[in-house]
């Protein structure tokens, strides 16, 4: 048999049928649904009197448009409230499990899927959200779809898709101290560009990736879309299995043993050929900070805002000119020392427990600069509970951070958490597009540790210059609470 890549194995295993015109009918194992991109899909089903084919393979939560303040209070914005009510009505009508605002398992859809163990190796996972690529960290083929396709999956449990090309992103060497998974993926995007992997599914390989925890792998796969890729994947290994073991939706008992045996085969065969291949020496990477309005506009923290002359084409130069005007930055300005007004520690990229620990470690015994407004928005209510158990909430609060409830929050600013015009923000999220975090707001993407250091310094700083060697890493609390076990079909009520 011809050697196949990990992607090809998962693709082949889900091809129901090849349509005469070429694309494949691809079977979906897990469909994640949220409030913003689903109402029109349910509306379409209703108009056509269609049913949800497999409600048991569909899971819904609210995240994009939820308030992150006090959950006991009613929702201020009546339009947002209607959208949340619509999802709850749709989930009820079509028999879909919903983790709503009252659920202890509510959170950003890409944080709760893995946390519940619903995300598993070898699956095809879709969601009406581009960062569905996150789930590829488990060796799943996971990608974002639009609302019409959401409706298609609800009705048929399949998608019509042409086979994407394959892309190997191979990382050699080791990351230097203070350099994180976020820096690795930002550095990669800076290198290949935001359309560098369009039409491809990336597989991340190499020792650095193997050494990453699941949370770090999720950060990497999460931003695959920012390189233009439809999905990112990492072959599952012991790290993956250890993470999944015992999670509420992971197989148990004999089924677990069988599953792990199957999952072990999910790796690219020796000699498998990728359409594109890029190799990067990870040891050359420094902490990354974006300076522009696209994730590819990124450089080392010790670097400077680039000069127009560094760019080849007119189109690039005009894009950079626009970006610098929007960011209010002059070419040649050093990034370190740039004053910031806000810090956002959150999003499906960097709001899991390890991200919070990394930031907290930097903050220990320090205070947020008086000019900075900083907040932590945990990726899920489970992350929040765990952090509180470890005392991280106290540490953040004492340092001067706001401690919120789970949601997308200022990653996209659909709720009240937004930047004011002209405010400059150090953000652990994934998109620095114009207006993304609030109209006129200026976003600098970076890692959680870098964002925490910026909060204290009041400006962008190189966290490597801080003597963290003396601060022991924050470890999981020995008495960390067991993950909230939810019974199937009881998401909303537990």
């Amino acid at each position: 048999m011809t050697p196949r890549t990990l992607f090809e194995k998962v693709w082949d295993a889900h091809s129901v049928h090849r349509l005469p015109e070429g694309p494949v009918l691809l079977y979906v194992d897990l469909h994640l649904v949220h409030e913003v991109t689903s109402p029109q899909a349910f509306g379409g089903l209703r108009r056509a009197t269609r049913r949800v084919r497999r409600p048991d393979l569909t899971l819904a939560t609210v995240d994009h448009n939820v308030p992150t303040g006090d959950r006991a209070l009613p929702i201020d914005d009546p339009v947002s409230a209607r959208q949340l009510d619509a999802l709850s009505a749709n989930a009820g009508e079509f028999g879909i499990e919903l983790f709503d605002l009252r659920s202890p398992n509510q959170g950003i859809v890409h944080v709760i899927g893995p946390e519940l163990g619903a995300t598993q190796p070898g699956m095809v996972i879709v969601c009406g959200d581009s960062h569905t690529s996150t789930h590829g960290a488990f060796g799943a083929l996971a990608f974002g779809i639009g609302t019409s396709e959401v409706e298609h999956v609800l009705a048929t449990q399949c998608l019509v898709m042409s086979q994407p090309r394959t892309f190997e992103a191979h990382f050699t060497g080791r990351l230097a101290p203070g350099v994180t998974a976020k820096d690795l993926i930002l550095g990669f995007i800076g290198r290949i560009g935001t359309a560098g992997a369009t039409g491809h599914v990336i597989e991340y390989t190499g020792d650095v990736i193997r050494a990453f925890s699941m949370e770090e792998r999720m950060t990497v796969c999460n931003m695959s879309i920012e390189a233009g890729a439809r999905a990112g994947m990492i072959a599952p290994d012991e790290t993956t299995f250890t993470y999944l073991a015992g999670r509420p939706r992971a197989p148990a008992g004999a089924a677990w043993t069988r599953a792990v045996e199957t999952w072990r085969q999910l790796r690219s065969d020796p000699g498998a050929v990728y359409d594109t291949r890029v190799s990067i020496d990870a040891s050359t990477l420094a902490p990354q900070v974006t300076w522009g309005t696209s994730p590819g506009m990124v450089t080392d923290v010790s670097g400077r805002v680039p000069d127009l002359a560094q760019f080849q084409t007119d189109a690039e130069r005009s894009a950079v000119r626009r970006a610098l005007a929007y960011m209010d930055l002059a070419p040649g300005t050093p990034l370190a020392g740039l004053r910031i007004d806000r810090v956002f520690l959150g999003s499906c990229t960097n709001a899991r427990i390890e991200d919070l620990r990394a930031a907290a470690r930097v903050l220990r015994g320090k205070r947020v600069a008086p000019t900075v407004h900083a907040m932590v928005v945990p990726g899920s209510q489970q992350v929040k509970v765990q952090a509180e158990h470890e005392g991280l909430d106290r540490l953040f609060r004492e340092a001067g951070f706001e401690w919120r409830n789970a949601g997308c929050s200022m990653c996209l600013g659909m709720n009240a958490d937004i930047l004011r015009s002209g405010e400059r923000c150090a953000s652990t999220s994934n998109r620095n597009f114009e207006g993304r975090q609030g109209r006129g707001g200026r976003t600098h993407l970076m890692s959680p540790a870098m964002a925490a250091a910026a909060a204290v310094a009041g400006c962008i700083v190189d966290v490597r210059e801080w003597d963290l060697a003396a601060v022991p890493p924050l470890e999981p609390h020995p008495l960390a609470p067991p993950l909230h076990v939810v019974e199937r079909g009881k998401g909303g009520e537990v």
């Binding site: 998962v10 295993a13 889900h14 129901v16 049928h17 349509l19 015109e21 070429g22 009918l25 079977y27 194992d29 913003v36 991109t37 109402p39 509306g43 269609r50 084919r53 393979l57 994009h64 448009n65 339009v79 959208q83 598993q120 190796p121 095809v124 009406g128 959200d129 581009s130 779809i145 639009g146 609302t147 019409s148 396709e149 409706e151 298609h152 009705a155 048929t156 399949c158 019509v160 042409s162 994407p164 935001t194 359309a195 369009t198 879309i225 233009g228 439809r230 197989p251 199957t262 085969q265 189109a315 690039e316 996209l412 659909m414 015009s421 597009f433 114009e434 207006g435 993304r436 109209r439």
Partner: protein
């Protein structure tokens, strides 16, 4: 879905690369539960100042751009968020086709789902179209023929474009993709029987 066979109309140029869906339609317009009425939100932050007054410098606000149904733009159009609202807003604002050197994958699929034709041309062809729009003072029309897979302006610009045959067929006939897939129900059911879905995961 309205079929797309052939369309002639006024073209407007937005010569920028990497226009993301956050620009095409900002987040505050994603709170609704309908797919209609989003035209006024199209490029909102570029079209209007913070006080709501139109920005006269924005390409789509020029008087010559009014009534345009074809958008000519830069590479990687529609990158970022998967929000189909971007395609809905373009369609609601009267656009039937978008011409660019490249599109982001999810946006491309979303356009096809809505009868909004995304046409990939060579970068030099797009540059030529930018020049022609400018030379015509904004009064520039194109004809896009999906059947023949051609674009022409009647004044010497003429080219062909590629599109996969499945998408072409769906667009030409305005077919309901879900209805089409439901015809394969027996194959889907057979596939499900072959695998124990949701237990041990798929076999490699």
């Amino acid at each position: 879905m309205e079929p797309f066979v052939r369309h002639s109309g006024k073209a407007v140029a937005l010569p920028r690369d990497n226009v993301d869906t956050d620009q095409i339609i900002p987040k505050q317009f994603l709170k609704g539960v309908e797919r209609t009425g989003l035209g006024p939100a199209l490029f909102y932050d570029w079209r209007y100042g913070p006080d709501g007054t139109p920005n006269p410098d924005f390409e789509l606000n020029r008087s010559s751009a009014q009534g345009a149904s074809i958008l000519i733009t830069g590479a990687n159009f529609g990158c970022g968020s998967s929000r189909e609202h971007a395609a809905w807003a373009l369609e609601d604002a009267g656009f039937r086709a978008i011409l660019a050197p490249s599109f982001a994958d999810i946006f491309f699929a979303n356009c096809c789902q809505n009868g909004l034709l995304p046409v990939r041309l060579l970068p030099q062809e797009i540059d030529e179209l930018f020049r022609r729009v400018q030379a015509a003072g904004g009064d520039y029309a194109l004809t896009i023929d999906l059947e023949a897979q051609g674009v022409e302006d009647g004044h010497g610009f003429r080219t062909q474009f590629g599109i996969d045959s499945y998408r072409r067929e769906m667009l030409l006939r305005g077919l309901d993709e879900i209805g089409r897939t439901l015809l394969e129900e027996s194959r889907i059911a057979a596939f499900e029987r072959r695998r124990a879905i949701g237990t041990a995961g798929p076999v490699a």
